[in-house]
Structures are given as C-alpha cells and as structure tokens.
Symmetry: C2
Subunit: 213 residues, 2 copies
C-alpha cells in the first residue's frame, strides 16, 4: 500500500496508534473513539482524526473506529509485504533487552541475528536468535539479506560497525551508542541516546515543577 507522502510525524504516530490499539483490543472492546486513542498517546483527538483522515480511514460516527480494521490498515502502510530482517550488534544488556522485549511482538520484522565479540556468547543463541562473531558481520548480513541493523555496542566501536553495516547493504540503522554516526544518504539512520532522554525529562521536570509550585 503506497500512500502519497505522509507527514513524518504522522508516520511516527501510526506505529504508536497500532501499539496502543493492540493493547486495547479485546472481546468486549471492538471500537475506540478518537479521544480514547488521544488519551493514551497524550495528544489531542483532533490530531488522531487528522492522521486517520490522511491514511483514508473512516470511523463510525457513533461507535468510533473499528480497532481490528485500523490495526490492519496501519500494518498495510507501515509494514513491508515480505517483511524485513533485523540484526542486533552487541549482545550486552541493551542488546539482550531489545531482543527479549521484541520477541514475538511484530510479525513483519524479525530479529534474525545478533553479533558480539565475546567468544562465550557466540553460537549459543539468545532467546532464539543466533549469535555470531562480529567479524562475520558483513558476510552474515549479506547472506541472510538483513536490511536493518541495531547498534548497541560501546561508543568507540560504533563507527566501525556502522561502516560494516553499510558495506553489507543494510537500508536502515538504529544507533543506541552515544557516538554520532555518518552514513550515506541512501541509508536511513536514527539515533537514540538514553542519557539525552533522561536529561530532557530532568529539565522539564524541573520546569514543570516551578510552574505548578
């Protein structure tokens, strides 16, 4: 399903809608109102309606939106038909956290391999994912046609890993190391730093507190 260019933020929210809807869906509850979705995502109902308008979904004027249908539709926009394969590079606490947390949550994305330098971890598998030595990254990624890499190695190793991933032909990288990376424009890069996130919370917590005092 190809939609005319959706706004960047709308795409981000679509994933979030789906996540919230999956948590909401139950026998008793088959429909949901825009304001219910809004409440869960801490946004306004208008925004929800606007986003759904953009993807061409119509709800029922009295009952709201059909949860199942909407989940289905978001899938057709967000997912690729054939699915995408994912590798986690770095099997420290964060890598492990990602793998176990992800397990079985989405069916169009599959974590198919993990990489580490520690010989004890290699070839053992973790939570059903095979663990390879980092030296064979390019080879394995190519062989299994992995298109997305998640970097959870320490900062100093991150640039090399990124380079290897690009060489191996991945289309997207999610970087959890604090080291800013540079990749060619045809590879999509997203960076997330937990400390920055915490600092943001700290800042607004402080500000919020002053405001409500």
């Amino acid at each position: 399903m190809y939609l005319k260019n959706l706004p960047h933020k709308t795409v981000e929210r679509l994933s979030q809608y789906r996540r919230a809807l999956l948590l909401t869906l139950s026998k008793e509850k088959t429909h949901v109102f825009s304001h219910e979705i809004a409440l869960m995502l801490h946004i306004t109902p208008v925004q929800v309606r606007r986003d759904l308008m953009l993807i061409g979904y119509s709800g029922n004027l009295r009952k709201g939106y059909d949860i199942k249908e909407l989940i289905e539709l978001i899938g057709r926009i967000v997912d690729t038909e054939k699915g995408q394969r994912v590798a986690v590079i770095g099997l420290g606490n964060l890598g492990k956290a990602f793998i176990s947390y992800f397990k079985g949550k989405r069916n169009k994305l599959t974590i198919i391999a993990a990489f580490d330098v520690n010989p004890e971890k290699i070839n053992r598998g973790f939570d059903g994912v095979t663990v390879y030595h980092i030296n064979s990254l390019v080879e394995v990624v190519k062989k299994h046609n992995i298109s997305i890499g998640i970097i959870t190695v320490p900062a100093d190793q991150a640039p090399d890993i990124a380079e290897a991933l690009v060489e191996a032909g991945v289309k997207g990288i999610l970087n959890y190391s604090p080291k800013p990376l540079n990749v060619p424009p045809y590879v999509y890069l997203e960076e997330y730093d937990m400390i920055t996130s915490l600092e943001k919370v700290a800042f607004f917590a402080k500000k919020n507190d002053e405001r409500f005092k």
Copy 2:
C-alpha cells in the same frame, strides 16, 4: 540560569550539543564551527547558530565556538544547581543497561537507587547502585528525595509503578515500558518504545530505498 522560554526542540538539541561536544573536546581541539556540530547531529549549521543565539552564546568569528565554555553554558541552562536524584525501577536487562551506561557520565544527575521484585538482586547493589524491593519504593524515594523515575518493568506492572512514583512525589518519569501511562499534569512524562523506534526505521529504510533505486 533562567532563560525566557526556549523552544522545546532547542532544549532537546542542547543536550545533544553537549553530548557531542564532550566527545569532541580534546587538547588539540578547543573550538568548533557550527557546521561541525551540525554534521554530528545531522542538522543544518543555521539551526545550530540559531539555537546558540537563543541561549545568548557568541562564538569567535574566525575560530568558531569555544567548546569548554559552551559545555559550561549548556550545563547552566539544562542542569539544576543542586542536581537531581534518579531511580531505576526494574533491574532486568534494560534497567542494567541504563545504569551501567549512565555511570559517571553526568554529574548533576545521580542514579541513587534501583528497584526489583527478585529477592536475589536485592541489597546486593548493581554497579554501585543500591537495589531495593519494589515494595519499599515510596518510602525510599521519599527518604532520598528522588525526583525522577525510570520505568523498565514489564507492561502490566508499569501503571502501578507509575502511581507509586507519583505518590512518592517524583517530578518526572521516563517510561520504557510499552504501556502508555497517565500521570497528573504536574509530573512530566516521557515515553519511549524501542519497537516503535524500530518500526520507524523500517518504514523509512523502505521508503528511502525506493527513492534511491
């Protein structure tokens, strides 16, 4: 240091600037140009200059910005003078990852306690952080005047934890569980879901790929 209201996005970037600058600072390199900062954050030089203008920092026309001074100044805006204390709730892989990753990286934020249900982990300490049973959360948070909580427990437990944190008087919550929470307006809440992030990468990787084909 209190600045007139900085744009939300600018605040987010200030943390990122500081992170990048900390990684850049060295004996040989004492100054940095706007386009160098921009490159690291994948934004434009104009945006960097604009942000710095907003916080009232002036660079040297020929040498660029003094890295040390700038780090210092960002600190005075972003940090609180006395510092803030942080607790991590849930000592699974993610909680551990956060704690070890954070260790020694910032001096105005201190992770002072962790909480878990597993009796084996309790009272042992992890990476220098004392681990308590979750039942004593309210008590410990109050006692140590902890103002920020990081939630890394499974989804079903998250709402209870959030409630307890609010009761204990934290000012900000960083939620890594996939369950959307609701807290009173005087508590700042930030939510991050790794799967949503991965989905975003997957979507734009796909799109990017089509564009460059």
